[in-house]
Symmetry: C2
Subunit: 231 residues, 2 copies
DNA sequence: GCAACATTTTTGCCCGGGCAACATTTGCCG
DNA sequence: CGGCAAATGTTGCCCGGGCAAAAATGTTGC
């Protein structure tokens, strides 16, 4: 299969960024990636199993689901084209903590981890870049999780919300921003009840700390917010 | 400085495991690691700064401290000889979320990340092994964090305790095990109040679920414990 | 425009567990 | 051994926020 049409997309992934066309040519020839199309609802990866491939989503939309101890499953992440999955997993011998499911019809490409970690002699610089990207990708996922833990260990809901708001504002680079999360989704991320989240956001508005409308947030008083985290 | 005496130790680290003496010889020659001795209380790594070196503890004991938003700092991990630090950090451009402090007089060795990720031509197989170890090390840290999150999102304290007990038992491979944690440390890991933890453990003993004595735990009824997680 | 549904807000109830204060045990050192 | 500090256990109080149910608001298709 000709992957050329996807090169611009691949270059935007954290694993293959900075790669020139000719580099991708050589690398993909060497890797002989498997490509597979999925129907909506099909599983790309099943929780509890190992995998030795790094998946890259070429088309469609996929969701990572975590099986809760009580049997149900909750959505963790959602990814579009360019999304990576199995990257942390493939280099370890752990079983996958998540299942990955096609949310719409999707197309995915798989790079064998063995080939990534075991450069063949020819691919000098390119391959080193790839390895560096791999480490960077995994590290970044680690830090994202770490920030999540940071949030979760805050005892009061107010604190968690403030921390989250500040984080989002910092990421957006401005005091007003929108997030692609429903209230329910945000509640889950913050590990609280949806109604409790509404209540608290309401209170914070009345106190003049923030303004919110659906997925949009506006921080009115950064200073006070910051202080609210510290207690 | 002659690092030979530390080879057996180095071989036990997740980064340098499986390395023969001659491989270590060549690698360390190539890496020219810096070695530094620290007095009790000195900082090996300061939160908020970047680092481009992977640290390996050769002697002593160190603690990773996280600065809480309110200015105080809490101990996260404690490591003895063979402990690795800065490993996740060095490949990313993040600032360190933790400080590392010498808990006793300590000796540490530092490998430049640049050299790890950029193999010089001579070191074939050995270096690939090193890269694989690096990825594995980081991945494992990721999964450890992930399990922590798993714990933290449980709403009831009872659930968190049960999940933790089952995890520990699984890791130990038997229903009786000891952990190197004080009650306060465990409470912090489970993100709850120390007295609340005592209370709950007491209850669970009275209910015949477990037996505990200081750092030792014995699971009496795995089945019931497992069921307690699912509600 | 209206009916059916999804999403969010609001509110009252109530309990898990945080907090503080004290009792007890263990370990350490002079 | 006695005294002191750290670790653990115990208990009463009280409030944050989970839960459930209902109201308000937004969304979609006909």
């Amino acid at each position: 299969m000709d992957l050329r049409p996807y090169y611009p997309l691949l270059r935007q992934t954290s694993l293959l960024r900075l790669m020139r066309d000719d580099e991708l040519d050589r690398m993909l020839t060497c890797f002989a990636p498997r490509v597979r199309r999925y129907q909506k609802g099909e599983l790309l990866l099943l929780a509890g199993y190992e995998t030795k491939e790094v998946g890259i989503l070429l088309e469609g939309k996929i969701t990572a689901l975590k099986n809760t101890p009580d049997g149900a499953s909750v959505a963790i992440t959602e990814m579009g084209p360019g999304g990576l999955f199995g990257d942390v997993l493939s280099g370890s011998s752990e079983k996958s903590p998540v299942s990955v499911m096609a949310q719409t019809e999707s197309l995915a490409m798989y790079l064998p981890y063995e080939k990534i970690i075991h450069p063949c002699a020819k691919l000098h610089e390119t391959h080193l870049q790839l390895l560096q990207n791999l480490v960077l990708t995994i590290s970044n996922k680690y830090f994202a999780l770490d920030r999540r833990v940071e949030l979760l260990i805050c005892k009061s809901l107010r604190t968690r919300i403030c921390l989250w708001l500040l984080e989002q504002a910092a990421e957006a680079g401005q005091a007003t921003f929108a997030v692609p999360l429903t209230r329910a989704g945000l509640a889950e991320y913050l590990n609280c009840d949806r109604s409790a989240l509404s209540r608290e956001l309401g209170r914070m508005q009345r106190e003049g700390l923030i303004e919110t409308f659906r997925g949009s947030f506006k921080i009115l008083d950064t200073e006070r917010l910051r202080r609210a985290c510290q207690e």
